[in-house]
Amino acid sequence: MTVAPAAAPPDERMVTAGLTRRFLQRPELGAAVGALAVFVFFAAITDAFATPSGIANWLDAAAPLGIMAVAVALLMIGGEFDLSAGVMTATAGLVVATLATEYGLNVWPAFAVAIAVGLLVGFVNGIVVVRTGLPSFIVTLGMFLVLQGLNLGVTKVITGTVQVGGLDDADGYGSARALFATTVEIFGADVRVTVFWWIGVTALATYVLLRTRPGNWIFAVGGSAVAARGVGVPAARTKIALFMMVSTMAALVGTMQALRLTSVQANSGIGLEFEFIIAAVIGGCLLTGGFGSAVGAALGALIFGMAKQGIVFAGWDSDWFMLFLGLLLLIATLLNLYVRKRAEVMKR
């Protein structure tokens, strides 16, 4: 009979962390505090900001940004950028509006074509990045300019002008609008249905990231694509899929905007790609990849939306709008950083 060996100390990586500690480790904690601070600030200094219709309004502003920020956050966690995502929303809107108004197609098949274009654009982005090893920053910047040129050029050739309008007369407009762009009355305020899409996308992305194998792959390829490949993660396929997911989401958001406005300008979407990235970073995504969260990105978009509308609610001189917006975002991000640093110290 041998003496049982003394129990070895458990591997520190296998220890289940306590609830408080796990809470403090969440990347979205800082963003949540930032969002709360921005909300309290504007609720205190303005009358309309915290009313149901005020809330519905800034949620409306934040929702399309939020959907895209969540998609872009996943891509950034996977270690890549997509600068073409902003213009892609316009491309999709133009595809839907042009097919429906110039070629008399029903809105639904037109939407399917827009999604297909999104998948294709994302696939091209992904395959070029993966095959050439070029930084996605430059590859998708190229795609950004290509799409910007196509948006203007193709629209001009087909319609003879620089905008496509009259989408509300197309077949299938009513049913498509009901799903993608209508408003629902809650507490007497008209809440845009995009807000629910935003919540749904955030929940789905969070589930995929934290509870599924592809979610693990995303963190792994963002941390180190080579090491991930070494342990059997299909790194190339994961990255391509992420690019395709972002462009497809842009196609969805672009269609939503087109249905909502019933017309699309050929120059739309330019500059929005940075708002998506800004929202993801405010929400705790690292620019270097491997770290971040979908809920964080959604909160980042919320901060952005609240700050943008809050300035108008407060009636600050709109010539200084960008200055106020920039300062608010810097303050929110600094607060985010501060909270995360404190959390790092406390969890030890």
């Binding site: 309008g165 500059g271 407060a314 709109s318």
Partner: protein, 162 residues
């Protein structure tokens, strides 16, 4: 109209600032400028809506671009405001909005004319030494589009020449 917001959709465009200044002088009431981004029309709509919600005494919105004019219609409806809307320039959607009364009028600069007429004048001068209007500036506008004449202009706006 006594309390107007003038929506500037392109920061740094002097022409837009001047239109708002003109509106301020001509109206004699209060005019606040509001900055929005023409590349994000949905965002512009929510911004106009915020402005209307924040100050219910605003009873007029002046848009300087047809897409912003149409966005202002949704913003006014969304805010439950009584504000009336006027816009610069036309699109098919603007003309429909004028027809159904949701936009009061559009100031059509008749840009097509601004391009077309000078060429005609130059050609006539070159070939025939003609001078029109005694050599003084020939006005190409503005053409005001209101509910009365909107139907006539509708087809032309669709075609892009008005």
């Amino acid at each position: 109209m006594t309390n107007l917001i003038c929506v500037i959709h392109e920061p740094g465009n002097i022409g837009l600032e001047q239109r708002c200044e003109g509106a301020t002088e001509g109206l004699g009431g209060t005019v606040e400028n509001l900055q929005v981004d023409i590349n994000d029309v949905a965002g512009a709509q929510t911004t106009i809506q915020s402005s209307l919600q924040a100050d219910p005494s605003i009873n007029g919105v002046l848009a300087l671009n047809p897409a912003i004019g149409v966005a202002a219609v949704d913003a006014v409806a969304g805010a439950g405001s009584e504000a009336q809307i006027a816009t610069f320039d036309l699109s098919g959607d603007v003309v429909s909005a004028i027809e159904d009364g949701s936009i009061l009028f559009a100031v059509d600069q008749q840009q097509y004319l601004q391009g077309y007429v000078p060429i005609v004048l130059l050609k006539l001068y070159q070939e025939n030494n003609n001078i029109m209007g005694g050599g003084l500036p020939v006005l190409t506008g503005p053409g005001f589009v209101t509910q009365e004449n909107a139907a006539t202009v509708a087809d032309l706006a669709e075609a892009g020449t008005r």
